[in-house]
């Protein structure tokens, strides 16, 4: 009897859903179609639009394009990895001219959708698709290792204990780039310093980030850099509970100094916004080269340290010198 009651309810639920389709169905067709002469679609990964990280930065770039170049812009968040393909497809069906997939997680979805919609242009951030870039796709990558190298220089020259720390999100090549560049920077600037590397195996567990930071600081480190998304929030919570001017944190992706204004040495800023704006602009003007990888590094201001920083002037001078050496090619920064 109990079961029957339940089943009855469900049949009813399904019926209503179907009925409502009949009534509310076709009304909204074409409503999503793009207006204006050039239109852009942006699909975030599961981090969402305002993740204070690369999704947000990417969106800032296309929003700037909306204001400066008068292009039509629409953004869509993905809730699950499985949503990437349908979300990209929606924009393609809307005949949007340029469709962005933000993050390396799109490395299978972009080629799959690009294959079906040959007339649309696609762009992916943070992946070169293993070198196999379709003819209607542009791959945008960043030399995260170069920016991290400068963060390493700043850390190596600021540390008093000659111990610095690195907190990674998940042990994957995307994050190893940050670790490799940072470690190289520390060693070059201060051969006596050691780098302790830890991974949270998460991008969201701030409690874990705080615990790892605690262990690193307790173990003697006085500057800690992170490339760990939400886990990194815990680093700032921990450093804030310690003596200012003695313990430092270095942020990543965007200027993170608001999380701990007195304790943030600097942030390794990744200008995804510069990249999304530039590429959108080129696409609109018809000068975009497709089927290639566009790599943003120190030279293009694609990566670098935040303007807002507590790095001392003497250290800053050396950071600048290293920066010039990298740009001139005198130093090659490892990425693995």
């Amino acid at each position: 009897m109990q079961m029957k009651r339940w089943l009855g309810s469900l049949v009813a639920v399904s019926l209503v859903a179907t009925l409502a389709v009949g009534c509310g169905g076709n009304k909204d067709k074409d409503k999503g179609t793009a207006k204006g002469d050039f239109s852009v679609g942006l699909v975030t990964d599961t981090g969402g639009l305002n993740d204070e990280s690369f999704n947000q930065s990417a969106n800032m770039g296309v929003q700037k394009a909306k204001n400066d170049l008068k292009v039509d812009v629409k953004a869509q968040e993905s809730k699950k990895d499985e949503d990437y393909v349908p979300n990209l497809t929606r924009f393609a069906k809307d005949k949007r001219n340029l469709i962005w997939g933000i993050g390396f997680k799109f490395d299978k979805a972009i080629p799959e959708v690009a294959e079906k919609f040959k007339d649309s242009k696609f762009a992916i951030v943070d992946s070169n698709l293993g070198g196999k870039i379709p003819s209607n796709v542009v791959a945008v990558t960043f030399k995260d290792e170069e920016g991290s190298f400068l963060a390493g220089v700043a850390a190596g020259l600021t540390t008093k204990s000659n111990q610095v720390g690195f907190i990674g999100g998940m042990s994957s090549p995307t994050i190893k780039k940050f670790e490799a560049g940072f470690t190289a920077g520390v060693k070059q600037a201060n051969p006596k310093a050691t780098v302790k590397v830890v991974y949270a195996e998460s991008f969201s567990d701030a409690t874990k980030g705080r615990s790892l930071a605690k262990s690193l600081y307790d173990g003697g480190a006085d500057v800690v850099y992170h490339a760990a998304g939400g886990v990194g929030k815990g680093l700032f919570d921990e450093v804030k509970s310690r003596q200012a001017g003695k313990y430092w944190a270095i942020g990543v992706d965007m200027d993170q100094s608001r999380l701990a204004p007195e304790h943030t040495l600097t942030s390794m800023v990744k200008r995804v916004d510069v990249a999304t704006f530039e590429i959108t602009k080129q696409a609109k003007e018809g000068t975009l080269k497709l089927g290639t990888e566009v790599n943003f590094g120190l030279k293009d201001d694609g990566v670098g340290l935040s303007k807002n920083s507590k790095i001392s002037p003497e250290v800053m001078k050396q950071v600048e010198e290293f920066k010039q050496k990298i740009i001139k090619g005198e130093i090659t920064v490892p990425s693995k």
């Binding site: 969201s204 409690t207 605690k214 509970s241």
Partner: protein, 311 residues
């Protein structure tokens, strides 16, 4: 060596505090016979409310109070559904989790212009050092110099034990969870006791959530609670539905996490990949359960519908 022990202990405390609180909440609810799968959702609403109210009032204490009220209100929905309307307790708990997850993120977006997280909670709980005790080596710097929420959690373990085992109220509450019909015959209102127990669980779990957003961390986002409510359920069962058992289980789990994290700083990752090291707390918990803890007996009337007069 001392600094290592300090790190280990501090991390253990950090990790166990929210677990103790949420699991104690679950303890009251389940001891009265109402399963509470909704701990995750109750923590979420507590974390969200206390973060937002702390930001707006500048006081983490007012934030905490508001969080408790929000937790109680959400738990009230669970109580009305399960106790008054005899809804399946697990279904209702799952719905509570969905509701909290949806509502809080939706409100963050609505309140902060589409943002994925609240602004930073500047006025958060800071450590309280307890005079004299704070000078004990290792313990003084960790257990006796920590967030007030941790003290609240520890005190609540003792209070819960006292209330459940030493007061008539506690006896009635346990009786309702074991033999509701007998209790009713003896003049105890099953409905009233279960309402109170479920509301207590909402309040406690909300404090656990507040610990995450205004003490350990300092913001609320969709991933602030991230499965801790379910670990708390595990701690509740691991602790055999007893206050000190819950304390032990949460501390055990926290310590295992601390070991796996501090192990990385020691350089263990040279020998064991960090993905494998990260499994440690979960593996240890299973081993401990299989090896030492064994059988767990839930309160007898848990999950069963109770209708007055029916047998």
């Amino acid at each position: 060596m001392l600094s290592t022990m300090t790190s280990l202990l501090e991390t253990t405390i950090l990790y166990s505090t929210p677990l103790i609180l949420a699991a104690l909440g679950g303890l009251f609810s389940e001891r009265s016979g109402v399963i509470n799968i909704g701990l995750e959702g109750l923590m979420t609403i507590g974390a969200f409310t206390s973060a937002v109210v702390s930001i707006n009032t500048g006081s983490p204490w007012i934030g905490l109070l508001a969080g408790i009220v929000a937790g109680i209100l959400l738990a009230l929905i669970h109580a009305i559904a399960t106790v008054t309307f005899n809804a399946d307790q697990t279904v209702s708990g799952v719905a509570i989790n969905f509701l909290a997850a949806g509502l809080t993120v939706y409100l963050v977006k609505a309140l902060y212009d589409g943002a994925g997280q609240t602004p930073v909670v500047d006025s958060k709980f800071t450590e309280w050092a307890i005079p004299v005790l704070k000078d004990i080596p290792v313990l003084g710097d960790t257990l006796f110099n920590t967030s007030p929420i941790t003290y609240i959690a520890l005190i609540l373990v003792f209070v819960s034990y006292f209330v459940l085992y030493r007061t008539p109220f506690g006896m009635r509450l346990r009786a309702v969870g074991e033999h509701p019909h007998a209790a009713e015959t003896a003049g105890v209102s099953v409905v009233k006791m279960r309402y109170i127990a479920v509301l207590i669980s909402g309040a406690f779990a909300a404090v656990g959530g507040a610990a995450l957003s205004t003490s350990i961390g300092s913001e609320f986002s969709a991933t602030t609670v991230a499965g801790q409510g379910f670990i708390a359920i595990a701690a509740l069962i691991f602790g055999k539905w007893k206050p000190f058992g819950v304390l032990g289980a949460a501390a055990f789990f926290g310590f295992s996490v601390a070991l796996s994290l501090t192990g990385q700083v020691w350089g263990l990752t040279k020998y064991v990949p960090s993905e494998i090291l990260t499994m440690l707390p979960y593996l240890l918990t299973i081993l401990a359960l299989a090896g030492f803890v064994g059988r767990a007996n839930a309160p007898a009337a848990i999950g069963k519908l109770y209708e007055k007069g029916s047998r």
